[in-house]
């Protein structure tokens, strides 16, 4: 195991996922001697790229970029270190019986594509995009600021609450109402108000279920839909990009930026506990017994590990422990990644690369998605799952040998808790289900497969450390967001232990490769240090 260069640091960040790296980079940039400790042999957490077969680079878990806050790109000077979000120039949504939606970069052309399925959906699509963008513009400030503490009588918090209320009051009624409909309602209700095409609704509703144990008709799916549109790429809400070298390429950029600001990264250094003395964090103890002293300790792990594993829950208020114990994880997503000998063929369209220069969305109708969810409700994985495919090698030739491809498939639903079986038994069966599903849309798909990697929620938990394999480090459910993420009163990155902070995706604003939790936590830490002087 490697050893830290110093015995004492101003700040120690536990966990080198993207939020840990962002947090460490900001702290180092502010002049703190910062150490980032990572359990594995590489940083990135769930945002890693691995060469599983020679020449084939797999985005094992996280696979695309959208919600990353633009201010982080600038403030951490990421372009200097190789930040390169590659444009996904198309989105392909195959349907049944040769139907499909193929979107590209020409908006008016896309409207014609919608029109092919339903002429009235064409301007409805424009209206929908505009309405969603208005809501995103209204809510964006919430992603970029520490949320107020609803339960505090501190004058500063009361001012923040009043500013938030004022911000909401200033919104146009239609924008505020749409926001509430999305935050509390179902994606299906929202989409049904605009569209009639099943294929289009299936495609759009796919964003309402990703990473979350809801179906498009569940209340709460609207929030997930909105969340996935809150991201932006080069100024366009809801647009996604593939980072050069996959999301692992991105976290390597973050690591270089953090190091350039002076942060030290210690790999293969699992932390067994945060050490405390008199209610104050004093550093970390590694599993090999090494103790490293730190004025500030920041956990980039999920809330369960942050509060119940790294520290002794007996040190914490009982209501917080209770809230964390009932915090919903219930991971429901899996990945199946392929090395392919060529591009899949879609009947009628062939195997042209322009089909695959973005997401390939297997969710041909709202019914399809809802039925896939039905099975998860009763403790089993979908027999016809939703798949978000991405053949990144069509955009980044460095990810596969010439003429060959890698395909990342995000799969839902695959609930962490299986009824009457377990994931070690079902892993290959899940791979077969996904393969069969792809085969049904792309005849001959199986014959292209050179290698298959199945990543179940259990694997996500084992490898990355995300509890129950929840990709957002905690479900995106209204009672677990904003004022309440991860627990009422503890939404401002602090913990009841002085000097111990949280910065993972289990804090506001949440998961996805966004970096906001890492950044906002660093602001809070720096503010507290300033006030302590």
């Amino acid at each position: 195991m490697a050893h830290p260069q110093k015995r004492r640091y101003d700040a120690i960040v536990v966990g080198g996922g993207h939020n840990g790296l962002v947090n460490g980079a900001y702290l180092a940039k502010a002049g703190l001697e910062t150490l980032i400790v990572e359990r594995r042999h590489l940083v990135g957490g769930a945002a890693i790229t691995e060469e599983l077969v020679p020449g084939f680079w797999f985005t094992t878990f996280s696979y695309a970029l959208s919600l990353l806050r633009p201010d982080i790109i600038h403030e951490l000077e990421l372009t200097k270190h190789g930040f390169m979000p590659l444009l996904m120039s198309s989105t392909f949504a195959p349907g049944r019986d040769g139907e499909y939606l193929l979107f590209g970069q020409d908006h008016q052309r896309n409207l014609k594509e919608v029109s092919r399925h339903s002429p009235r959906d064409a301007d409805a699509y424009d209206q929908y995009e505009h309405d969603i963008s208005r809501v995103c513009q209204a809510l964006k400030p919430l992603l970029d600021n520490v949320p107020p503490n609803l339960f505090s009588k501190d004058p500063e918090e009361l001012v923040a609450m009043s500013a938030l209320a004022q911000h909401m009051r200033d919104l146009e009624p239609r924008v505020l109402h749409n926001a509430v409909r999305l935050l509390t309602g179902s994606a299906a209700d929202f989409l049904d108000d605009y569209f009639e095409s099943d294929l289009l609704k299936g495609y759009l509703a796919s964003s309402s279920i990703i990473g979350t144990k809801v179906g498009p008709r569940s209340q709460g799916s609207g929030l997930v839909l909105l969340y996935h549109n809150l991201g932006e790429h080069d100024g366009v809400f809801g647009a996604w990009a593939f980072h050069k070298g996959g999301n692992g390429g991105f976290t390597q950029v973050l690591a270089r930026a953090a190091q350039a600001f002076g942060a030290e990264i210690l790999l293969e250094a699992p932390v067994s506990a945060v050490t405390t003395s008199n209610g104050r964090a004093t550093g970390v103890a590694l599993e090999d017994g090494t103790e490293i002293a730190g004025d500030v300790v920041v956990s980039a792990l999920d809330p369960r590990r942050t509060f119940l594993e790294l520290v002794n829950p007996r040190q914490l208020p009982a209501d917080l422990v209770e809230n964390i114990e009932r915090f919903r994880f219930q991971g429901t997503s899996a990945k199946v990644n392929f090395a392919l000998d060529g591009l899949p063929t879609f009947p009628g369209l062939g195997a042209g690369p322009d089909l695959y220069r973005g997401f390939t969305n297997i969710g041909p109708s709202m019914d399809y998605l809802e039925k896939a969810y039905d099975e998860a409700k009763y403790g089993w994985y979908s027999s016809a799952p939703y798949i978000d495919g991405a053949i990144q090698s069509t955009i980044d030739p460095d990810m596969a040998p010439p003429g060959k491809h890698v395909m990342s498939c995000f799969v839902q639903y695959a609930p962490y808790h299986l009824k009457g079986s377990d994931w070690d038994r079902e892993r290959d069966n899940l791979g077969d289900v996904v393969q069969r599903t792809l085969e049904s849309f792309f005849p001959g798909f199986s014959s292209l497969i050179l290698h298959r990697e199945v990543v179940t929620p259990l694997d996500i938990e084992r490898v990355v450390g995300l509890t129950e394999g929840n990709i957002f480090a905690g479900e995106f459910l209204a009672p677990q967001m904003f004022f309440f993420r991860p627990a009422p009163g503890w939404n401002q990155y602090r913990t009841p232990i002085d000097g111990y902070y949280q910065c993972g995706s289990g804090t506001h604003p949440g998961g996805c490769v966004m970096g906001a939790p890492g950044k906002l936590a660093s602001q809070q830490i720096l503010k507290d240090r300033q006030q302590a002087r």
Binding site: M84, P85, F237, P402, K404
Partner: protein
């Protein structure tokens, strides 16, 4: 009727947009894909090919070719060895820039010069008693630019001599069964090459390169992607960033080499070389009379975002180059320069511009305000001066 280049059958087959424009009388693709930005990323992350045949090309030969060019071109051609290329420019006798171009030295007495506009009469009228022959070979030579980080790999597979070709050097090579010249030059600011082939061989060259590049993400790219790349690369464009002094109506529309940032090509100026404009240029250097300096500008992202947010708008990040003039001001609202090319750079994730500013404000980091329109009103947004090129990957020269 427009002209077509020797690559046209292939260009036409690949252009999926039906969007064309005219360049020096030739039909050229605006973009091949519905997304020019995707083509731009082929240049920056894979490999792209661009048909640059419409550039004017002049062959200079004869015993006095070097002597002639050293008196006509401002950059000292005598320092350009055989097998080397120079970015160069030529001036009028008042030291104002006429044009810029690239010159390839193929032999002691043979040079190939490109220019954006016709210059044959201009050069021919300067021959005097020199033993030099000038032939326009624009139509005889097809030029295919192969640009991007994978360009070396693709071309080396076809012609191994490309692997060791240095920046701004050229080599004869056999490519797709035909004799060509390959130069390590281009207009993208990236690793890249240009293939110079006989017009009759154009198709076989295109086919060989496109076939070899297929597994490397190769895409043909059009005018728009090229014009995006060149702004990042700090490469000036005639009639956008400067005008030919031959056709300018007044000196406000003329530029000196120092004003355009060409000073580096005049370093170690030989006092005995009497090229056209040398006296005026020397005077400008000695007396520091330049009116402007060409610089890069980077817009303050925070100020830009806030300006639009406050206006109730989503801050636009449009990668399409805007080639209108934007005024630059100091904090006292005095005009201190103007930007000529403006865009949002996806690689730099910033709004950038090529601009000229007063020489005393040309140092890196200097703050200036850029005037834009927001909600139909002029507004100023903070920017700072940056060194050109704004995007300059190591691989370009490595």
């Amino acid at each position: 009727m427009y002209l077509t280049t020797p690559f046209h059958p292939r260009v036409e087959a690949r252009n999926e947009t039906g969007l064309w424009s005219h360049w020096s009388g030739y039909l050229v693709a605006e973009k091949y894909q519905l997304s020019e930005k995707f083509e731009y990323f082929a240049i920056r992350n894979a490999v792209g090919v661009f048909d640059s045949t419409p550039l004017y090309k002049y062959q200079f030969s004869g015993a006095d070719a070097e002597k002639f060019l050293s008196g006509v071109l401002a950059r000292d051609i005598r320092k350009c060895r055989i097998g080397q290329a120079h970015y160069t420019f030529w001036c009028d006798d008042r030291g104002f820039v006429i044009e810029d171009g690239v010159v390839l030295r193929q032999a002691a007495d043979r040079f190939l010069l490109t220019s954006a506009r016709p210059n044959l009469a201009y050069f021919s009228n300067l021959i005097g008693h020199d033993r030099v022959y000038i032939d326009e070979v624009t139509e005889q030579l097809a030029t295919l630019a192969v640009q991007g980080p994978r360009s070396r790999q693709v071309l080396t597979a076809l012609a191994p001599e490309v692997e060791r070709l240095d920046y701004f050097h050229l080599t004869e090579a056999k490519l797709g069964g035909t004799e060509v010249t390959v130069s390590r030059t281009g207009y993208t600011g990236d690793l890249g090459y240009e293939i110079w082939a006989a017009a009759d061989d154009a198709i076989s060259v295109w086919d060989a390169v496109v076939e070899e590049g297929a597994g490397h993400g190769l895409l043909p790219f059009g005018q728009i992607a090229l014009l995006m790349a060149r702004i990042e690369a700090g490469l000036l464009l005639i009639d956008i960033d400067f005008e030919s002094s031959r056709y300018a109506w007044n000196d406000e529309h003329r530029s000196t080499p120092l004003e355009l940032g060409f000073g580096w090509m005049l370093r170690g100026l030989d006092p005995d070389r009497a090229f056209i404009g040398h006296r005026a240029i020397k005077r400008e250097i000695d007396e520091e009379t330049s009116r402007w300096r060409m610089v890069g500008l980077i817009v303050d992202w925070k100020a830009y975002d806030e300006m639009y947010q406050q206006a109730g708008l989503v801050p636009p990040k449009d990668h399409l180059p805007v080639t209108e003039e934007f005024m630059l001001y100091d904090r006292d609202y005095q005009r201190v320069g103007y930007a000529t090319s403006f865009m949002y750079s996806p690689m730099l994730q910033r709004h950038i511009a090529l601009a000229r500013v007063r020489p005393d404000l040309a140092q890196v980091g200097q703050a200036v305000d850029l005037e834009v329109t927001v909600n139909h009103r002029y507004q100023r947004v903070a920017a700072h001066v940056a060194r050109l090129p704004l995007f300059n990957p190591q691989r370009k020269t490595a």
